[in-house]
Structures are given as structure tokens and as C-alpha cells.
Amino acid sequence: MFVSRAVKAIVQNRIAVTALLFLGLVFIVSLIYPLLSEYNYYAHNLDNVFLPPFSGKHVFGTDNFGRDLFVRVCEGAKISLKIGLAAALIQTLIGIIYGCLSGVYGGIIDEIMMRIADMFHSIPSLIIVILLTTFMGRSEMTIIIALSITDWTGMAKIMRGQTLLLREMEFVQSAKVLGVGNLRIITKHIIPNSMGAILVNVMLSIPAAIFAEAFLSFLGLGIEIPKASWGTLANEGFVYASSYPWLVIIPLSFIAVIMICFYVIGDTIKDALGG
């Protein structure tokens, strides 16, 4: 019911549809770009450095090593989206389980679990991510794990709130009177009735995770070369910003537009589901 309402809201909103189409386009192109371009993302070509956009077959131009920027942006999209989606989903999962347990058991367990969540919440996640990646290496996996274990508290709090709210609702109480067990109450009543909040949270976590990764990589603390997310590309291009602005402007524009797309869609869903 929540999902169909969300889909309906998106379809009815022209801006949201555009955003969705653009996201889809970026996603598909990032997968099939080898069919569109003869270049790869790592081979240097020192004869063709700093070509501006639309020179020959280099649609976005080339960078300081003569690598094709279009291909690198496509490859970057793959990494950015992968990290964003994976981190958001893991966070949400942790949050749902944690929040439900805390809310259903209540009492002292709830108190302790929430204080722990509070502590996690008041530690700046970016700092933790920086520490983890500094000491554990900067692979995609580390970044996904680091982002997931630091940013789950929001979902946990929402889910706990939902659980507490629904637990007092009469239909959950009547399930209790009917002798339905806690696990079944969670899976049959609480999670289905919280799908709206969950959906909204996922839609807002994805851009947040993409942002966090881009931020790190832009500072030079994220994905390591020769692999490159959009943030890494912007970081590399930043050095040449005054002379070859496209090297930084193109990847940054992608980050900006993708973020806007996610927010528009997230907002539409939020409005529709009243989250």
C-alpha cells in the first residue's frame, strides 16, 4: 500500500518523473558505457592530455594523464551509486532491527539500547569513517562498512518511535491479547505499518551516503586511484581548476544533479506518505 502510494505520487509529479528518468539514464549508461566508448578508465595517453570537452571522441575531454573523462565519470557513477545504495540499505536494516527490538522489549532494555544509540549518534560519523579508512585501507568495502556502522541511529530512532506508537495502538494490543508472539507482531504489524517511514528513510539515506563518500573522496581520503568515484575525480581535477575547469566542474555537476534527483524523489515520497 505504501509502495503503491509512493509510486503513484512520483508518477503524478513531473519533476519527480524527470529526476527518476535521469537517475535511470545515469545508471544504465554507467553499465553499458563500454559499448559507447572505445576507451578505458585507467590507460594513460600522454599525447592527449587536457583536451577540452567535445574534442574528437572525448565527449567530456581528457584529464592530466590523457584518460577519457566520460569513461571515468561512468566508472565513477558505478562506484558512487554502489556505495550509496549498499550503505543505505545496510544502515536501514540495522536500524529497523535495532529500533524494533528496543521498542518491543521496552523498559530497561529499551533505555540501555537507546542510550547506546544516543552515544553513537553524538559521535561524528565522518570522523569515524576517516579513522576507519585511514587505518583499514580505502577500499570500497571499508567505506561501505564504515558508513553503515556509523549512520544507522537515525533509522533506529524512527523505528523505535514507530514501534512505541504502534505498540500502544489498539490493533497491536489486540494481537497481544490474541496471543500473537513478539516476533510475529514485529513482522506482521509493526514493520508493514512502518513501511512509509522506512521507505522515506531509505530514500534520504541513499543521497546522504553518496554525499559522504563523495565528501571523503574529494578530501582525498576516499576511494584510491586508479579507481575513481565522482568525489575522487573532482579532487584530482581540483588542482587544475583555474586552467582546465571542466575536469572539476563535470564530476561535481554529476554529484550535484544526482543528489538533487534523489532529494526530489525522496521529498515526493515523503509528502505522499506523510513521513
Partner: protein, 317 residues
């Protein structure tokens, strides 16, 4: 109230302890253990850190030495340079970060609240749409993207153009550095933008929500004018959600400043943190991260307490 504050403080202390312990474990138990990789460390520095962190003692004792140092306010020394300690870096960099952060916070709050009120009072009119557009951009587009773009447009293009036209060496917006008022304008505005966007949205929706409430109807029935209703009953109640996010917002400004400091070469905390990560100056990374975390925890604690004092409705749990 007193109990609430005490509990909040105790909680914060535990959090601080957790972070300190976490950094200690990180230093000693992660793959590529830092004190094993001694080959690049100059002998003088090695001697210093061995002494400082008690590396020749058992692990548990090292932990208490580390804890003791932190409690005394000594966050460690560099493992790259003999003459650098974390504290000297902080005393140089932190004032700069605070300066930048407070400017940004001030801009974000004042502009955000004003624009939010304007948007709410002009609901669904062009003025509302414009502020809404600004806030969507601000919420969605990361600060470092805006920073880089505005540096390119304002500091390179516009300033360069003006210098050429006037023929003087006057730079309206200098590209980088932190040497005077003109250097602060673009960075603090860019840093403020994201937080401002959030405040605009919250202020708008919370004022609109408040204006729908029954006590506003009642104020109207009492015969108060629209202006009185908004100033006496509307704005104060609408401000509470904003106070409640003041903590997270300040934190996001503090962390966002890392990127802004990189872009505009401002010698703040973030600048040094990034440099020390790149130089693999691990003790420095730990020290600076620890300091930043402590500041964040402090800010969160203070704003929580502030909120509970301001809103009589908050349950004094």
C-alpha cells in the same frame, strides 16, 4: 531539570570514554599496525613517541597512559616531525575553524529564519517558490560542490574580470587564504548555505504548522491582529524545531568546513587533518580526530541542555 542535565553529562562522559578507547584500539589493533611500521619514522621522533605513549610498557599500561594524557588535555605528538604536537596544531588551527564556523552559523541562522518566515507568509506565491528553490539547492547540493563552483565563478572569473576592468590590483574575493575580511566572505557564505537551506525549510513548515493550530484560532478569536498573532504566538513556537537541530547543524557546519578549508586553503582543523592523513602522520590523525569528536560531543550536549531549558514541554526524563 537538574537530574536531566546530570544524566546528559554522564552520558556524554561515557561517549567521550568510548571514543578515546576506540581511538586507542584503532592505533594498536588494526591491520597495518601503526607502531610496527617504524621504518619511516625518524629516530628522534620514535624516541619521543615511545616515551609519550609508553610503547615499551604492557598494552594495558599503555592504555592508561593514553587515557591519562587525554584527561590532562594532552592529545599526543606528531610521528613525522620532532617539533609538532597535536596541541600546538590545535591552538593554531582551531581558532580559525571556530571563526569560520561561527560566521557561517550566524549567516545560516539569521538568513534562514528570515527567509523561512518570508516563505511561510507568502505561501504558494512567487517569493515562496524562490526561497523553496534556494533551499532545495542548498539541501541537495553538497557544500564542497558549491564551494568549488563559487570559487571558480566568483574568485577566479568575477574578481579577475573586475580587476581587469578597473585595472587595479584590488581583489574583491581572494581565491585562497585567510588574511582578512574579504577572504572570509565566500567561504563562510558557502559553508552557511546548506545549513541555511535546512533552516529555511524547517522555519517555513514549522511556522505554517503552528499557524494551523488551535491556539492560533483562539488568538484570532481574542481579536489579535495577524501581526500580533505571528509575533506573539507564532514565531516563538515555530523556533523550537530549529533549536532542536542546532546541535546537528553546528556539527555539519564544523565537518563541512573541512572541505571548504581545503578549497580555499584556510589553515583550520580540517586542513591539518587532511594533510596528516595524506602524510600518514597517524598519531596526528588520531589526536585531531579525537579533538573534533570531543568538540562535536560538547556541542551536542550543550544544545540538548539548551533545548530542555527553553521548551517547558520537554519531558524531564
Amino acid at each position: 531539570m537538574f537530574r536531566f542535565i546530570c544524566r546528559r553529562l554522564v552520558l556524554s562522559l561515557i561517549t567521550v570514554w568510548m571514543v578515546v578507547t576506540f581511538t586507542f584500539l584503532l592505533m594498536h589493533h588494526m591491520p597495518g599496525e601503526l607502531f610496527v611500521v617504524k621504518k619511516n619514522v625518524p629516530p628522534q621522533v620514535l624516541e619521543n613517541i615511545t616515551q609519550k605513549y609508553g610503547l615499551d610498557r604492557p598494552k594495558l599500561e599503555q592504555y592508561f597512559i593514553y587515557l591519562g594524557n587525554v584527561v590532562r588535555g594532552d592529545l599526543g605528538i606528531s610521528m613525522k616531525y620532532t617539533n609538532k604536537s597535536v596541541n600546538t596544531i590545535i591552538s593554531k588551527a582551531f581558532p580559525v575553524s571556530v571563526d569560520l564556523g561561527l560566521r557561517a552559523l550566524f549567516i545560516a541562522l539569521s538568513m534562514g529564519i528570515i527567509l523561512g518566515i518570508i516563505a511561510a507568509l507568502n505561501k504558494n506565491k512567487p517569493l515562496d517558490d524562490i526561497t523553496l528553490f534556494i533551499s532545495v539547492i542548498g539541501v541537495a547540493v553538497p557544500g564542497f560542490v558549491l564551494g568549488t563552483l563559487s570559487q571558480y565563478l566568483l574568485c577566479y572569473k568575477l574578481t579577475g574580470f573586475l580587476s581587469r576592468v578597473t585595472g587595479s590590483s584590488f581583489r574583491l574575493f581572494p581565491v585562497s587564504g585567510w588574511k582578512g575580511f574579504s577572504y572570509t566572505l565566500v567561504p563562510s557564505a558557502v559553508l552557511a548555505f546548506g545549513a541555511m537551506a535546512i533552516i529555511i525549510r524547517m522555519m517555513r513548515s514549522s511556522l505554517l504548522d503552528v499557524l494551523e493550530l488551535n491556539y492560533i484560532v483562539n488568538a484570532k478569536v481574542k481579536g489579535l491582529s495577524s501581526r500580533e498573532i505571528i509575533t506573539k504566538h507564532g514565531i516563538k513556537n515555530a523556533l523550537f524545531p530549529i533549536v532542536s537541530v542546532l546541535g546537528p547543524l553546528s556539527v555539519s557546519i564544523l565537518l563541512g568546513s573541512f572541505a571548504i578549508e581545503k578549497i580555499f586553503s584556510i589553515p583550520g582543523l580540517g586542513h591539518y587533518l587532511v594533510t596528516s592523513v595524506q602524510e600518514k602522520d597517524y598519531t596526528m590523525v588520531i589526536g585531531l580526530s579525537l579533538f573534533t569528536s570531543l568538540i562535536v560531543i560538547l556541542v551536542n550536549t550543550i544544545t540538548d541542555i539548551l533545548y530542555s531549558i527553553m521548551d517547558p514541554r520537554v519531558q524531564l526524563k
